[in-house]
């Protein structure tokens, strides 16, 4: 077990280093320096600025310097277009985005498990068909289409849900748009693994010895059906993070996703770089934890 954790952690660290390197060097490859702004600077000022930010050093040295500042001082640099500290911007954005993302994850898991189990327990009946139809449909709608349609129908046409404002944030529509795809996916996963579990011998044994139905379902079937669902948590977090970019832009929540998209639109390279590294680390850590938890809870897996 310890060996697996160490191995997996090393892989994660390599991935993070690789991501930061790719990010840094691709950003470096962009033509034009960060100070080629619309306003022409005098050569002296330009030189001073380049000296100040170490832009004259060789690229690998610049990369190491950037990484050193990033790791030890949490210094992600200053947004080129906004002039704000990148790390502070990320943290402010995360306040909204974390709430949004975690609620979406919770909604997706809870509803996915319930719907999936319902479909499996009522196999072939109307409720099963409805759930399957609904989840197939939901996996075919991109989150930006769903978000725009929800905004159009419930916020603009019907006026049931007020539009997002900083003083009165309404999480319902963004959370639904973010949670829909992972929820449908978890529903399908739960259904298959639940059907699988219900066919096992131990379920028959439990029923044969007269265990109450709800106990069979919750204690024996669902617990084992949960294992494949756990593996999806890591990819789900990644999906929610990338999905939040468009969803936050559509609802203009002012979270990190929206900041990232506007940084892309404005070609604010330090902001893009900082956010990419931050989110990538988040995703890699989520995947690492998922993998380790999976190994712990599934006794059938050998730790090699």
């Amino acid at each position: 077990m310890a060996k697996y954790v160490v191995k997996r952690t090393i892989l994660a660290i390599i991935t993070v280093i690789l991501i930061s390197a790719i990010t840094f060097f691709t950003m470096y490859a962009v033509p034009g320096g960060p100070f080629d702004s619309e306003k022409a600077l005098s050569p002296a000022v330009q030189a001073a600025l380049e000296e100040r930010y170490g832009l004259n050093d060789p690229v690998p040295v610049q990369y190491l310097n950037y990484m050193r500042r990033l790791v030890f001082e949490l210094d992600f640099g200053v947004g080129l277009k906004t002039g704000r500290d990148v790390f502070a911007t990320i943290m402010t954005g995360m306040r909204t985005s974390a709430k949004l993302g975690l609620s979406a994850a919770a909604v997706a898991i809870v509803f996915g498990l319930v719907l999936g189990s319902l479909a499996a327990l009522n196999r072939g009946k109307l409720i099963d068909r409805l759930v399957v139809f609904f989840s197939t449909l939901a996996t075919s709608v991109p989150s930006f289409v769903l978000a725009t349609l929800l905004l159009l129908i419930f916020s603009i046409q019907l006026g049931w849900v007020p539009a997002w404002s900083a003083s009165n944030p309404n999480y319902i529509l963004p959370v639904i748009s973010l949670a829909m795809y992972p929820m449908a996916y978890i529903t399908r996963l739960t259904k298959t693994s639940m059907l699988d579990a219900l066919n096992q011998d131990y379920i028959r044994t439990a029923r044969a010895k007269g265990v109450a139905n709800y106990k069979v379902i919750f204690k024996h079937a669902l617990r084992n059906a949960l294992i494949p669902v756990v593996t999806y948590v890591g990819p789900m977090i990644a999906f929610i993070i990338t999905g939040s970019m468009v969803v936050e832009t559509i609802f203009s929540t002012g979270g990190l996703g929206q900041e990232f998209v506007s940084a892309i639109t404005n070609r604010d390279y330090t902001m893009i770089m900082g956010t990419t590294i931050f989110l990538a680390v988040l995703m890699v850590v989520a995947n690492l934890i998922t993998d380790i938890v999976y190994k712990i809870i599934d006794p059938r897996i050998s730790f090699d």
């Binding site: 990010t23 075919s140 892309i264 990419t276």
Partner: protein
């Protein structure tokens, strides 16, 4: 009969034929195979054709493909052509509803008595025929989906089959590389690379064939070629690891067949079904990614439309002209849904492991 019997030795296991009677004609007929012999492919197709959802999605896709090929021949408007009458720009034609004519067009029709081809989906804010834009957007999205999937398939199959067939250290190293690429957050990297390649490629491709594709499009394909083949490579490798243990591969090796031929003739045909299923499911995911990037403004370059960029530009006038969002949105959902259902159907029909 009995006189032909050789003499039976004591304790020999020779069968005493006198205890058997010849089979009657009736009994012989029972052994006849009534149905035609079937191949794996025929059998799978039969199963696929019995799946109504899969057949439905095939019909939808065929209809869509016919429409995007035929429609530009029938409809007299171009996707980037601003509505004009005899070369004069029609300033009243912006943001028309479906099947509406602009004031100038109505005047023109009354004056000349001729009829004009209707704007089936209306027009956009610049007065371009929206039906044609959606049709071309569908073309672009489908093309991206297909070519990206084929690219992914070629790279993934090559890489996976080499790793799987070589085995040992080569396999270990190749799969470690896969592991690392697999753990990269793909969409973030796609965004990053699109931003950068968009800047750097723009001047490099000017004047070449690729210029018409646009640097964003090219960046998209490069990104797919760099990142998305990993899943396919892993799948193919896993298949090959099991297939290469079969006796017929051993037989081929014994008579001195070269590895590339063994791969082509004996191994790849046997994992073809898995590859086809995976490609069918790759298409919608590529379309998803493309529309996502177009939505962020990193997709195809204007005036070329894609379904994602159409949906994005419709967002500006959401309150007044919601139909401009609805058409591309329905189109994306329809394509993705059809491919997903087709992929599921193919998997049910062709994956022997799932057969019950």
């Amino acid at each position: 009969m009995t006189e032909k019997m050789p003499k039976k030795n004591l304790f020999s296991s020779q069968i005493n034929l006198s205890k058997f009677t010849p089979a009657s004609e009736d009994e012989k007929r029972q052994k006849e195979v009534m149905s035609e012999s079937t191949t794996f492919f025929k059998d799978g197709m039969k199963k696929l054709m019995r799946n109504p959802l899969a057949v439905g999605s095939i019909i939808v896709l065929v209809l869509l493909i016919v429409t995007i090929i035929v429609a530009p021949m029938i409809v007299p408007y171009g996707y980037e052509e601003i509505n004009n009458i005899d070369g004069r720009r029609d300033r009243t034609a912006a943001n028309l509803g479906p099947f509406q004519y602009s004031e100038t067009e109505q005047q023109w029709m009354e004056e000349t008595g001729e009829s004009r081809f209707p704007h089936i989906f209306g027009t956009d804010s610049l007065g371009r025929d929206y039906f044609m834009r959606v049709i071309y957007g569908t073309r672009v999205s489908l093309a991206v989906g297909f070519f990206a999937s084929i690219l992914v398939m070629i790279i993934g199959v090559l890489y996976g089959s080499i790793a799987g067939y070589a085995g040992g250290k080569v396999d270990l190293i190749m799969m470690r590389i896969c592991d690392i690429i697999y753990s990269l957050p793909d969409l973030l990297m796609v965004i990053l690379l699109s931003v950068v390649l968009d800047e750097t490629l723009g001047s490099a491709i000017e004047g070449t064939v690729f210029a018409s594709l646009g640097s964003n499009m090219l960046a998209l394909f490069i990104v797919f070629a760099l990142l998305y083949w990993v899943g396919m490579a892993r799948l193919v490798r896993g298949q090959i690891l099991t297939i290469k243990e079969n006796e017929y591969v051993l037989a081929a090796r014994t008579i001195g067949t070269k590895p590339p031929r063994i791969l082509r003739k004996h191994i790849l045909p046997n994992c073809l079904s898995v590859i086809i299923i995976s490609v069918a499911l790759q298409v919608p995911s590529a379309i998803f990614t493309e529309s996502y990037l177009s939505f962020l403004g990193l997709g195809v370059s204007a005036p070329m439309p894609s379904l994602g960029s159409l949906a994005n530009s419709a967002r500006g006038a959401l309150t007044s002209y919601p139909h401009q969002l609805v058409f591309p949105a329905i189109m994306i959902c329809l394509i993705v849904l059809a491919f997903n259902l087709l992929g599921d159907g193919l998997r049910d029909a062709f994956d022997p492991k799932l057969r019950r």
